[in-house]
């Protein structure tokens, strides 16, 4: 086993990306994710990689588009307002069927908002934040270890399906330090016959593009892309179940909200309430099946979020509104306490009786 080191979540993302073979980083600084860019600025020149601070987020995402088209592992990172700026480019990357990693270490919004942690970009991340029909593979880490592991996973999945992936973290995950066992360095050796990196006059040239003026063809590319999305939904959904075996109530939460909810679940169990936790690790694809299964077992759900209630819509869809789904939340950079979550669990119990 490799030695565990203490690292900030942001640094763990950067180091894991390099170890996953990402040699190109483009970004623009914004709190609370600037450590990613700082780490890349320090490391990339030493290993022959590229760190480039672009003049804006729009510029950075288009540089990502370019490197992705050439078939190399590439990433950008930002926080909420900066990720909004990137949306046009993300839509183009999705429309051109290119793999890339976009990291969003969320802060409170809307607008410039604040710099404290938030999860209020859930809709933007999971429903296609830019224009057109498309999806991102969205991974939501809940520890510094997962910041590293899911970064590698995101690159692998993006390459496998030719779909851009997003790591959706938040300010606490980015700023906190925890022991982390860094992944072994790997060479990404996924064949990319579509990449535009010169033909040597040996083959017909490749075209990377998201413009299709013939609607019949554009429709076909959409159909084909959604076939891949279907495979992703079937094969790549990840979630964690905690104390769900005999649970009569279920908390649903991801990222930092799941960490806080775990404390509340443990305390509720001590007080004799049979409650468990389902933590989506992929937000898209969303773990619909385990929630549907849980709906047959439990009397109700609490969705714990750092938003005005975004994931709760997916929870309600997954359980077909067959059981009550309550919201427990704080917003604007405020974070719910374990006591607040416990109170919500108790309210749910009262309502169910």
């Amino acid at each position: 086993m490799a030695e565990k080191v203490l690292m900030k979540g942001n640094e763990a993302i950067a180091e894991a990306a390099i170890r996953a073979g990402c040699m190109h980083y483009f970004g623009y600084p914004i709190t609370p994710q600037t450590e990613i860019a700082a780490y890349m600025a320090k490391r990339m020149p030493k290993i022959g990689g590229v760190f480039l601070q672009a003049e804006s987020e729009v510029s950075a995402i288009n540089m990502v588009y370019g490197v992705a088209a050439a078939g190399f592992r590439v990433m950008t990172s930002s926080s909420s307002p900066g990720v909004s700026l990137k949306q046009e480019g993300i839509s183009y990357i999705a429309g051109a069927d290119l793999p890339a990693l976009i990291v969003n270490v969320q802060r409170g919004g809307p607008g410039l908002g604040g710099i404290q942690p938030s999860q209020s970009d859930y809709f933007q991340a999971t429903k296609g934040g830019g224009h057109g029909d498309y999806r991102l593979i969205v991974l939501a880490p809940a520890s510094v270890q997962e910041m590293a592991d899911l970064t590698v996973k995101a690159f692998d999945l993006a390459d496998k399906y030719r779909v851009p992936a997003m790591l959706l973290a938040d300010g606490t995950m980015g700023q906190m330090m925890e022991p982390v066992e860094l992944p072994e360095p790997q060479n990404s050796n996924v064949e990319k016959p579509w990449a535009v990196r010169g033909t040597n006059n040996q083959r017909k040239h490749n075209v990377v593009n998201s413009l299709y003026l013939k609607p019949e063809i554009l429709e076909q590319t959409n159909f084909e892309r959604f076939e891949r999305y279907k495979k992703i939904e079937e094969n790549e959904c990840i979630y964690e179940e905690f104390m769900m075996d005999d649970a009569e109530y279920c908390v649903v939460a991801f990222g930092i909200a799941a960490r806080i909810s775990k404390n509340a679940v443990i305390e509720a169990r001590k007080q004799g309430i049979k409650v468990g936790l389902i933590r989506p690790i992929t937000l898209w694809p969303f773990p619909k099946a385990p929630l549907a299964k849980a709906a047959k077992q439990v009397k109700g759900f609490v969705s714990v979020e750092l938003s005005m209630g975004q994931m709760i819509e997916d929870v309600k869809l997954a359980v077909n509104c067959s059981k009550p789904v309550n919201l427990c939340n704080r917003v604007g950079g405020m974070i719910p306490s374990p006591e607040q979550v416990l109170e919500s669990i108790k309210n749910l119990v009262k309502e169910a009786e």
């Binding site: 606490t172 906190m176 974070i335 306490s337």
Partner: protein, 176 residues
């Protein structure tokens, strides 16, 4: 067993670094640890704090809102966080910068003139390590031997010349 520690003071006093040392000490003892800083627009002279959790179980929420131990390195921090310490908890107070005593009688407060001691020892930036040493003495949350070993990991090779001073300050606090 889970211990939640909050270290708070002015930016520039080494509050975050003291927390990092403590987290490494916990890691050295194979405890589960987390370290979460306050982050904001503060610069040197503003307020800074970090929460460290040392536990035998995986750490759930990394947010320390009710610390078992508070290290208060300035008066605003002591004023703000004294009321949040758990009943029966401990406060380590830098008595050079905080003239008042604890208002609560249900906590154990320990006073140490860390800033003055650091200045007299010619290491004015190491009051944080003196506070940490005192905290280890009064709480036993990690062993002092391991703390010294962990310090060797935290102080980077580039700054090896600072290691000795840091360890000396830690021991000065421990033996006060």
């Amino acid at each position: 067993m889970t211990t939640q520690i909050l270290i708070a003071g002015f930016g520039g006093q080494g509050v975050l670094f003291a927390g990092k040392c403590l987290a490494y000490e916990g890691l050295f003892e194979e405890k589960q640890v987390s370290w979460l800083p306050s982050y904001g627009p503060e610069m040197r002279g503003g307020t800074a704090s970090c929460g460290v959790i040392l536990s035998d179980e995986p750490v759930g929420s990394p947010i320390v809102s009710n610390p078992d131990i508070l290290l208060a390195m300035n008066l605003p921090s002591f004023d703000k966080y004294e009321s949040q310490i758990v009943k029966g908890g401990k406060a380590i107070v830098d008595s050079t910068l905080i003239e008042r005593k604890a208002e609560r009688s249900d906590i154990d407060a320990f006073y140490i003139p860390a800033t003055k001691m650091a200045a007299e020892a010619g290491v004015p930036t190491l009051a944080n390590m003196i506070m940490l040493g005192k905290m280890i003495k009064e709480s036993g949350v990690v062993s002092i031997d391991n703390a010294v070993e962990a310090m060797k990991k935290v102080v980077s090779a580039k700054r090896a010349d600072l290691l000795e001073a840091n360890v000396k300050a830690l021991m000065a606090g421990y033996n006060y």
